[in-house]
């Protein structure tokens, strides 16, 4: 096993009855990185995290942390700490006692304990809150206490189980950035699970997209967004438009797809073995669509649509158009370049085929 990785797993399987919640997952997290596991609820990401923390045992496969096999190590002996979904701050203890809990278990002397508690509180930006009751703190402060409680132990690996879920939107945005900074500052390896793609994208060095117990793609956020490896990733990460049809030709890695109303659209081939006659899906991002009321440029692909309505949302404003019963969303730039649109009016949407991805149709 690669010893330079803080965490490495191979062929992990965890079954509940006939259903494999974690299905042959292998992963490798280099030291000091922020690794996210992104997936919809029920995809097995919580199960995977519990396997790593030791609250559950894999049916197959191995877990190595810094090269040491962890399968038989009980949770209290693993060099792994976890920030729980609901934080799990001990309600019967003060903030200081919460943070000191792990140190006490390690038999760190009281004076040393006090020093380290004060220092870590300083580091997470909550100086001198040792004697407060965790219930008195705000959501963001509690978050930081939960983090401090783990970081004070200087773990090899910090697991975070959707810890931002309970916060309101504004605070969540703020904590995302803060978590990223804290991870850099402490240099600890973070494994973060979430169903919120924005959390994963903003904070991570690497993101694994998980579905039905398997990893669909492991890549840095930008690659995930620009070059999704599977239709699921294309649909799950970021907004996307999906057009289904039949492949008519493939040339220079660009496939032409005929939609059910006869229109032909083009995009870059993203899955192997795409041949004329095959069912396919073309994915194109809302911001890649441009309004070409004038003649379309030479290499671009285009589609005739009818405007349904416009959705104003500041920088994220969109127009909802339809083509042959299929809804399409396109970004409406708010810098005055967007055309005036009227409901039921005609609208031609065009795009650079290099920005669109064509997948063989997944059996739904």
């Amino acid at each position: 096993m690669a010893t330079e990785s803080d965490l490495s797993c191979s062929g992990l399987v965890r079954r509940f009855g006939n259903n494999a919640a974690v299905d042959h997952v292998s992963l490798d997290v280099p030291a000091g990185t922020f690794f996210s596991i992104l997936g919809p609820s029920g995809c097995g990401k919580t199960t995977l995290l519990r396997l790593l923390a030791g609250f559950d045992k894999p049916d197959e496969g191995d877990i190595f942390i810094r090269g040491h096999r962890m399968n038989e190590v009980p949770p209290n002996k693993r060099p792994v700490n976890m920030v729980f979904q609901h934080l799990a701050l001990f309600p019967t203890m003060s903030v200081g006692d919460n943070i000191g809990y792990g140190l006490k278990r390690k038999k760190v002397p009281a004076a040393e304990r006090r020093k380290r508690i004060a220092r870590v509180l300083e580091q997470v930006g909550l100086p001198e809150l040792e004697n407060r009751d965790p219930q008195e703190l705000s959501g963001g402060q509690r978050q930081r206490v939960a983090l401090a409680r783990c970081l004070v132990l200087e773990p090899t690996l910090l697991l975070l189980d959707e810890p931002l879920g309970a916060l309101d939107l504004k605070l969540r945005e703020q904590m995302k950035i803060e978590l990223k900074h804290l991870q850099k500052q402490f240099g600890t390896t973070f494994v973060y699970i979430t169903h919120d793609q924005s959390e994963a994208m903003v904070m991570s060095d690497q993101v694994a997209v998980m579905k039905n117990g398997r990893f669909e793609q492991v890549a840095p956020p930008e690659e995930l967004y620009r070059q999704p490896a599977t239709p699921f990733v294309a649909g799950f990460v970021g907004d996307n438009n999906r057009l289904a049809g039949t492949v008519v030709s493939v040339a220079d890695d660009v496939a032409a797809v005929r939609l059910s109303d006869g229109a032909v659209v083009r995009g870059r081939v993203a899955s192997a073995g795409l041949a004329p006659g095959a069912q396919a899906e073309l994915y194109i991002r809302p911001e890649s669509l441009s309004f070409s009321q004038t003649a379309a440029g030479g290499g671009s692909s285009s589609l005739q649509t009818r405007v349904r309505t416009t959705l104003f949302d500041g920088a994220n404003s969109r127009v909802e158009a339809e083509s042959n019963g299929q809804a399409l969303f396109a970004r409406l730039p708010q810098d005055g370049t967007a055309p005036a649109l009227t409901p039921d009016g005609h609208l031609e949407l065009s795009w650079d085929p290099d920005l669109a991805r064509v997948f063989g149709a997944s059996p739904q």
Partner: protein, 282 residues
């Protein structure tokens, strides 16, 4: 009916007077009992003869014996305290184990056992006393008749009273502690393990402190219930009469203000215990 639905003035006035009448009904018997503990008259009734502490302090020289010089009542008080102590200890201990059993462990037949656990609540107290008397005292009789061995433990007396009261107070203690344990977030225990505690240490440093208020509350409740119980106790008591039974016997002979004095004393002790429990909860 609710605050946001308008009500008529008449309705409000009627409702308020009903409330007032209700609380008067609640308070009156206790209030008069308390007041007559200080009436300078040999009978707990009007007319008011002036204030006295005789019913607590008199030492019997002028025909009055106050509570603190009444050996019969004082020893009964001591008997009740001993019973309540043991009942509290046993039923709260059982309650803790039962709460863990029903809230944290999965096993076959759990539903049935839970219903069995609730059973003592729907058995009249007299019957609980009678059945224990019939079984244990009957057994002691049979053993004595057949083999000449005296099982005095199972003759009516302190042990049987404690057993009888434990029967139903355990159910109540279990319900109180289990309700608190149900609200415990299991993640807290996992967090403790994650921070390096062994399961046993996690239990003592995280779970038990969480349960403590309910354990103390259950203990206060068990103590009071035991102290005040009559129906089960009266069937099982032997030569050492507990306070409620002693008071009952006195009352049948005729009421004196000493009884009021005892009653007020009991109310004060109960109130203190109740306050203590409430402070624990908040």
């Amino acid at each position: 009916m609710i605050r946001s639905v308008p009500r008529s003035r008449l309705f409000d006035a009627l409702y308020l007077s009903y409330l007032l009448a209700f609380f008067l009904y609640l308070a009156l018997p206790l209030l008069v009992t308390a007041v007559f503990a200080f009436n300078d008259s040999p009978f707990p009734s009007l007319p008011w003869q002036g204030f006295t502490l005789d019913w607590y302090l008199a030492d019997g020289t002028d025909g009055r014996t106050g509570l603190f010089h009444d050996d019969g009542l004082l020893s009964a008080l001591w008997v009740s305290t001993k019973i309540a102590f043991w009942v509290t200890l046993v039923s709260v201990g059982l309650g803790c184990v039962n709460a863990v059993l029903f809230e944290r462990v999965e096993f076959r037949g759990k539903e049935l056992l839970y219903l069995l656990m609730l059973l003592p609540l729907v058995i009249p107290g007299v019957i609980l006393g009678v059945s224990i008397l019939v079984f244990y005292s009957g057994m002691a009789n049979d053993v004595s008749r057949l083999w000449g061995i005296e099982l005095d433990l199972f003759r009516p007396g302190l042990t049987l009273v404690v057993m009888g009261q434990v029967t139903f107070i355990t159910t109540l203690a279990t319900l109180v502690i289990a309700a608190r344990l149900r609200k415990f977030d299991r993640q807290l225990e996992e967090a403790a393990l994650n921070l390096g505690a062994t399961p046993l240490v996690a239990w003592f440093t995280v779970t038990l402190p969480w349960l403590l208020p309910s354990i103390l509350g259950a203990a206060a409740m068990a103590f009071l219930m035991s102290f005040e119980n009559f129906n089960t106790t009266v069937m099982l008591t032997g030569s050492d009469t507990p306070l409620t039974v002693a008071l009952f016997n006195r009352l049948r002979e005729g009421s004196t203000p000493v009884l009021n004095a005892v009653a007020l004393f009991l109310m004060l002790v109960s109130a203190l215990l109740a306050l203590f429990t409430l402070r624990q909860k908040s």
